[in-house]
Amino acid sequence: MSPSQSAARPSLLARLTTLVVGLTAFLVVTVALAANIGAQPIPLSLIFGGARSGAESKLAEIFWHLRLPRVALGAVVGMSLAVAGGSLQGLLMNPLADPYLVGVSAGAALGASVATVLHLGGVLGGAGKCVIAFGSGAVTMALVFWLARGRRRVQRDAFILAGVVVGSFMWALVTLVMTLAGQDLQSIVFWLMGNLYGQTEWLVVAVVGVLAAVGCVFLYSYARDLNLLALGEEQARQLGVETEKLKTGVILFSALVTAAAVSVSGVIGFVGLVIPHMARRLVGPDHRLLIPAAGLLGAAFLVWADTLARLIAEMFPVGVLTSLLGAPFFFYLLKRRPRPA
């Protein structure tokens, strides 16, 4: 074996670097363009050059305080959902796993619905609904976890079942709230569809951004363990992986970033499910490449989807678009698949 043979395939570090640099550049361009596009086109010179007139400063205002927060939040939400989805698919070894499997989205939906009906949205400086949604999402996650935890162990199958059971129950409660909502029904439905409308607070972006960043970093730290898990739980243990800590950690942090995302954007579908698959096709199953790839692709994807939504109508729910785009795309992926998972 000559040294040149092992160097023929670029090292993991080289591939990771290329990947991160490439996709980040793509994301930056995406964000810049997305903030540019809208009812009021904003020239790039303005963004970099600064306002030089009253009219221009008004455009700058739109850019920095209306568009960019929304775009940035879209990127954060997209990244969170994709990373959570990818991590869960790796943990459960199930290609159909998505971040909503944990039951968090159902819990958050219930929280948001109740907050809407009880008119608690104005509480906490307008962030009441988000905080309540996040809280109920967290509680739901704890419930699922408690249900799934057998004798000192988390059984993966039990976990999926618990998530489905608790999630179904929560959704049933959401439906109940909807029937009792009266005039607030439209508001609830709009939230449920998943959208980034009206997200203009940089504080919200910052809080969610920090939560998402922390969660994603922790999830990334499990990347190699997730690789080893593909050999089977027993085999992974024999290679030194502490599988119980892995399962607990991945589920916890996936739930955290999902709750953070859902609390501000509602239930945006398909990002968490399809983006990891796209990323896997692009970079392979190694989670050390997959998770960053999924995160960056997810961010870019959601920004583009939301931009498209904004072009259609300012209030158009991006969740509708992701589902419309996502389902046929997933179908296409399935058809193309050369061999079963």
């Binding site: 092992s6 089977g232 024999q238």
Partner: protein, 417 residues
């Protein structure tokens, strides 16, 4: 040295393995054998820190493995399990590299040295050709070899192989066991192999441990462990254990369900005039059918003689490679007369054993039923310048039955009481 000290291991409060003590030393190639469900895989799990024993300890160089971090053990002990499915389509190269994980800190990437170790491991298991293929595209046997490469990449001191030959073609089975044994010797590994095939285990392992019903039935060299009694106790079946001429290791032959050691159930006695291995199948079949069987004249060390001795048949023996004497011939005729049916098998006849055919003539002469198995035909095995063929014609003229082969002969006697 890996020791299991009086371990009791089980699932859900049900003990599968009870009070088992096993020692595996450097340079030892130990085979763990036993029937399905006897606890072999459970033992492997207990030894690899996957399933904690409810009683007893597992020590690696006198340190309890359940008190050390999993990673520390993984640097010294590698396991290849029975299940080799991989959840995602990693390349073979990537899977083998996973064996380096215990040696790398959490966030470290694999370096030149790790790639080198993996390459060598693939080289040894002949899986280098698959290196850049997705592991999910390989056959079961090819995947197994990749997993063995992965285990070797861990650079272990102890190797546990759980049925590593399960899906492999015989050439690969030999290849893998040869490799494992060679590495054990060269690198001073302590290797435990769980094997289903008793003959493979007997041939390759210096030491065997036979486990049945969760308990250790026997340990020691194959000669002491692979015995008819032990196998009967463990598998509840009768087999034949002989010493393999080429390897001097015991080898097991499966027989049909009818035990050969049972007493005759029929009244008819059959006397076999045979030799040179032609009589073995008939000896077995006739005994299984419940006939009382005798044989003669057999030269000592002839394969038919050895078999008759093993089956403890009444027989007339002559010294090895010697001409049949008048005295031995007389006793043979007596034994033939005491029987109801005489069967002469397709023995090659020379001057030395022509008297055996003579005995058949005598038997016919006193009215015994005589069957001549003409397979291969007498002309091809007559080394007496035609005397044997002439004798055969004589017996047939006297009323003996000429059979096409042993099966034909059996068919003719099956109906006898």
């Amino acid at each position: 040295m890996l020791e299991a000290l009086a371990i009791t291991v089980g699932y859900d409060h049900r003990a599968v393995v009870q009070d088992l003590t096993l020692t595996l030393s450097r340079g030892q190639f130990l085979g763990l054998v036993g029937p399905n469900g006897s606890g072999k895989s459970t033992v492997v799990r207990a030894l690899s820190r996957v399933l904690r024993p409810s009683r007893g300890q597992v020590l690696l160089d006198s340190v309890d493995i359940y008190r050390m971090p999993a990673r520390d053990l993984a640097r010294r002990l590698a396991v290849v399990g029975q299940d080799n499915t991989v959840g995602f389509d990693f390349l073979v190269r990537e899977v083998v590299l996973m064996g380096r994980a215990p040696h790398l800190p959490r966030f470290a990437l694999e370096r030149e040295h790790d790639h080198g170790v993996s390459e060598e491991a693939m080289e040894l298991t002949h899986t280098r050709a698959f290196a850049d293929r997705p592991i999910t595209s390989l056959s079961g046997g090819e995947r197994q070899r990749c997993m063995i490469a992965r285990a070797l990449a861990q650079e272990p001191e102890v190797l546990l192989l759980d049925e590593p030959t399960a899906h492999l073609d015989i050439n690969h089975q030999i290849e893998i066991l040869d490799l494992a044994r060679k590495l054990t010797a060269q690198r001073g590994l302590a290797t435990l192999v769980v094997l289903h095939d008793l003959n493979l285990a007997s041939q390759y392992c210096d030491l065997l441990a036979l486990i049945a019903g969760g308990r250790l039935l026997a340990t020691g060299p194959p000669r002491e462990v692979v015995t008819e009694d032990h196998i009967r106790a463990a598998y509840h079946t009768d087999v034949q254990v002989r010493s393999h001429p080429a390897t001097d290791r015991p080898y097991v032959t499966l027989l049909s369900r009818l035990p050969v050691s049972a007493a005759p159930t029929r009244d008819t006695r059959v006397h076999l005039i045979c030799g040179a291995g032609t009589g073995v199948p008939l000896m077995h079949r006739l005994r299984q059918l419940g006939f009382a069987v005798s044989a003669g004249v057999l030269n000592v060390a002839d394969s038919d003689q050895l078999e008759a001795e093993a089956l403890d048949l009444p027989r007339i023996e002559e010294a090895p490679f010697s001409v049949i004497t008048e005295e031995t011939h007389r006793r043979n005729c007596e034994m033939a007369r005491a029987a109801d049916v005489v069967i002469v098998t397709g023995i090659p006849f020379g001057r030395g054993n022509l008297l055996n055919l003579e005995a058949a003539v005598r038997a016919r002469g006193v009215g015994r039923r005589v069957l001549l198995v003409d397979d291969p035909p007498i002309t091809g095995r007559d080394f007496t310048d035609g005397e044997a063929s002439a004798l055969q014609r004589q017996i047939i003229n006297a009323g003996a039955e000429l059979c096409r082969d042993a099966a034909d002969a059996l068919a003719r006697v099956e109906g006898l009481p």
